[in-house]
Symmetry: C3
Subunit: 245 residues, 3 copies
């Protein structure tokens, strides 16, 4: 990219998305999208279908352009950014690198496209316009009310072992809970008591707590231990939060 | 940060400090501090007390400004840089991001403060001045003379498994050792012979050696093996170095 | 480096080369070399001989200058870049940092040399000219024809567990195979059937496939699984590819 756009600044968001995990990649982008600087160019690759006929696209939003495979990776962040005013497929071979194979689109197609944008090219220079509402949607499961609880799932396990659920604290509140409430956490393996607290440091030793995390979602945590390890949870695991209501 | 200061250059020192390990974070900063460029802005977060009433501060030194939680993370590096001429608590909400929760001060308070400094704000713009000598001190244990040896501890295990001790080679010299000397290394588990050598490559296969490492401290190493694994050591483990004197 | 060259842009290629693995470091540089921007300064350190009399060098090529220990790390990339027009040993102590020990040449010698180049110094300012064809060569094993197969080895295992071999697809073609062919893969442990396919996504569940990877070499892969784990392979493992010819 610097070979094409020598003064671009490159920020490495992460190289730690698990292999082939398009949903984790999509969540990473969603988490980052509201903090992007104006005019940012975002290159994302989680691409188990590399070399097949899945499209590579650039999606232009008001704040940023996102480039990547059209496999559900980009759509949730594009939606978070207010939707795309323009989407093109990256078919202009003149803005790509000659490639020894079909297996590294990030290097041979997406990176030169990002470099060209940084150097002043327009999104329409990159390829053919397509339906700007036609991106492959990401999988964003929603929780269900189930008896006296909210049945959701783990969206994300962070490096501390905290487990973010796909549950909004307003939904817990609507079900009768409030900060300080005692809750019950049911997984496939176990049932445990938990307490809704303000922050991680409020947890007593070994006490399972519910915290509104830094993305505004309900998260399970233990005091300086991994809740994911203790409850045998990972991304996608089913979790029901039973409220006192 | 680039949204606030578009031309700032961001250098990622590390994301590999173990979770909740304030001391490891403090040592990382100490190791880096003498190599900071003039005018550097250092953002550090190891913050098990996030959301509690521990303060977030900016400490201005001659060479750099350091931002982070006031929990012992910053104080050793600030001291290494000659002390702070000014310390403020980050209470100016106008230079912070609106936050969905109390759990991510790095993103919502510290990063915008760092961006504001990079864009020309003064440290005093960030919040209330406080006692510039009042930072929470970091834990920096010192070795003790004990019989015919120096009783210290492991400060750091690097990615090669070399174990840096909190022992200065001048202390070994004062106890009668010199490069080439035979030493004895006592841990809670074992007693092993070691030799003081010039560099890692001087170790014979399986020979435990003592090296003055890149920070000028005494380090235990094995030839292309992990001394930490072989001696079952980690940060904080007690180690006594017995000198021939 | 920024202390010497404040406007330099630093790109972190990788910190994930296995400890002491000079060959993996050399392959990383070879893989990157054709994508370097004009005028790039490349600092590489995999240096098990740090502190011994192995030389530290700067090698000037048409596109880039490479700095590192002269232990086989640099030579393959220098060759890929068309050879060095000039090589110097880094003996000019005025462009180095004062060092507390002999164990961190990357920080005390190579980084300040790279910073000085970025700030406008010439390669000859860094030290004594030496034979520009005299770099210690890297180990680049070549495959052998063996009965009805090509006997090679694993050069690289990527983070997906795909195993790159030191075999060019033209060699497979010369031995009678073509895309779509059935092949046989023999390791020290096992014999397995494989199919030459276009891209990773063409593999059926559990089917071992051969793909021309993003560097134009023959690679072994499984569908969203680690071929390295399944076949118990790592860098250096012997692999024979038997063709239908």
């Amino acid at each position: 990219m610097l070979g094409i756009a020598p003064t671009a600044q490159i920020v490495d968001l992460t190289h730690d998305v698990p292999p082939h995990d398009v949903r984790a990649g999509a969540l990473t982008l969603v988490r980052s999208s509201q903090y992007l600087p104006e005019g940012a160019i975002v290159l994302a690759v989680v691409d188990p279908g590399v070399g097949t006929d899945r499209r590579l696209v650039a999606a232009e939003t008001e704040r940023a352009v996102l480039l990547g495979p059209d496999n559900g990776l980009l759509a949730p962040a594009v939606a978070m950014l207010g939707g795309a005013s323009r989407v093109v497929t990256l078919t202009n071979a003149e803005l790509q690198l000659p490639s020894p194979s079909a297996t590294f689109a990030g290097r041979d197609v997406l990176a030169p496209a990002a470099g060209s944008l940084a150097q002043g090219a327009a999104v329409v220079d990159l390829g053919e316009p397509v339906d700007s509402a036609g991106l492959v949607p990401g999988l964003v499961p929603l929780p269900n009310t189930e008896g006296d609880g909210l049945a959701g799932e783990v969206w994300w396990v962070d490096r501390f072992g905290n487990c973010q659920l796909n549950i909004d604290p307003l939904e817990l509140a609507a079900a009768g809970a409030e900060p300080g409430s005692s809750l019950e956490i049911r997984t496939g393996q176990t049932v445990r008591a938990a307490r809704w607290v303000h922050t991680y440091a409020d947890a007593r030793p070994s006490e399972l707590v519910v915290v509104v995390d830094s993305y505004g979602l309900v998260s399970l945590a233990l005091d300086r231990e991994s809740a994911a390890d203790a409850l045998v949870l990972r991304a996608g695991s089913a979790v029901t939060v039973v409220t006192p209501g």
